[in-house]
Symmetry: C2
Subunit: 208 residues, 2 copies
């Protein structure tokens, strides 16, 4: 498993001449790192008497950030597995008509999964970004740059995941799946833009 | 060392209630991951007969991306060490005038280093972004989303590092150091904006 590797090993594996792991896994990792940073800022805020009024809200953000970070960490390996499944489907035999049909169906199934998975990563990253914006506004101001970096990582992970959606989308033949994914992407991009603008604005006020 | 930890261990350490490691280390890690992804796209391009014309340029990008990724990975631990040194300086004794003067000098030295270090990270991330834009344009188109994610990680690492510069800058008393860092930040932000716009434009053409 990629997330059981040392960071140095992951960097070496990433930079190697094998196409997997690639950008999809790194987009998920960016989101997981962002979630962990938001969780840290929450932990530096709860039980701090300076922030008594926001305790219950911060506890809620912390619980959600921990779950999102764990989910996104699991997607690091899931994305590479999904990519490998697509490659495996393309290598299925295609001599007879029956083989061709089975191969085509397997490719469509694998590509659809490899497209929906990063779409889910983008959706989780959007949520991490929302939590980062909020903890930046109400959390421990000594950790403001950590909250800001959390949001930036989630924003980058989101767009990175969407590039992985887009590069696969062209291979999906089912037009209803196409339309559904396009609509979900459009909503995520719109909400991300608002939240990223807010992150930069709040960071400008709190950090300078 | 943080980069000798497993990814899961790093995520747990990051999310804990200790202020270090924090956003500065993660900004450097984002840049290192971006550098590794650009190196991967280079390796998937060199020796590919479809890309014969760009071999020597891609070899140059690969060599530089490998170095940048290694340098940025080293900054993951260096940033946390710089932060810990600032904390240690603040804890120095301040009973006598002599102690106060020594403590103040130690704080200024530690904070200046903790500001210049992320400025260097931002500068290296800017270079990774430039390489990512170029390899996205000329490299193996099957790895276009990887090149795009590489650029996004470098862009996020750059701005994350700059938030760490900004949060420390207010504590630096030497106005000439202030002005020098402000000027360097302004140049980096300007060049990043151009390169990020180019990344999005080229990705839009290549990926969709």
């Amino acid at each position: 498993m990629l997330i059981q590797m040392k960071v140095t090993e992951l960097l070496a594996e990433l930079g190697s001449n094998s196409p997997a792991p690639g950008g999809g896994s790194i987009a998920a990792l960016a989101g997981a790192l962002g979630g962990a940073l938001t969780a840290m800022v929450c932990r530096l805020t709860v039980d701090n008497t300076k922030y008594t009024e926001v305790q219950s809200e911060v506890a809620g953000i912390l619980a959600e950030a921990d779950i999102l970070s764990g989910d996104l960490a699991a997607c690091v390996d899931a994305d590479t597995e999904a990519f490998n499944n697509v490659m495996a489907a393309y290598k299925l035999p295609k001599m007879t008509d029956q083989e061709k049909a089975a191969r085509s169906a397997a490719i469509q199934q694998a590509i659809t999964h490899a497209t929906e998975l990063p779409l889910g990563v983008a959706s989780s990253c959007l949520r991490v970004l929302a939590l980062a914006v909020r903890i930046l506004a109400i959390g421990n101001s000594n950790a403001a740059s950590d909250a800001a970096v959390s949001g930036l990582m989630a924003h980058a992970g989101l767009h990175g995941a969407l590039y992985n959606v887009k590069i696969n989308l062209g291979s999906i033949k089912d037009q209803s799946v196409h339309a559904d994914i396009q609509a979900k992407m459009a909503r995520i991009i719109k909400e991300d833009e608002c939240l990223h603008n807010e992150l930069v604005a709040v960071a400008g006020k709190v950090i300078g």
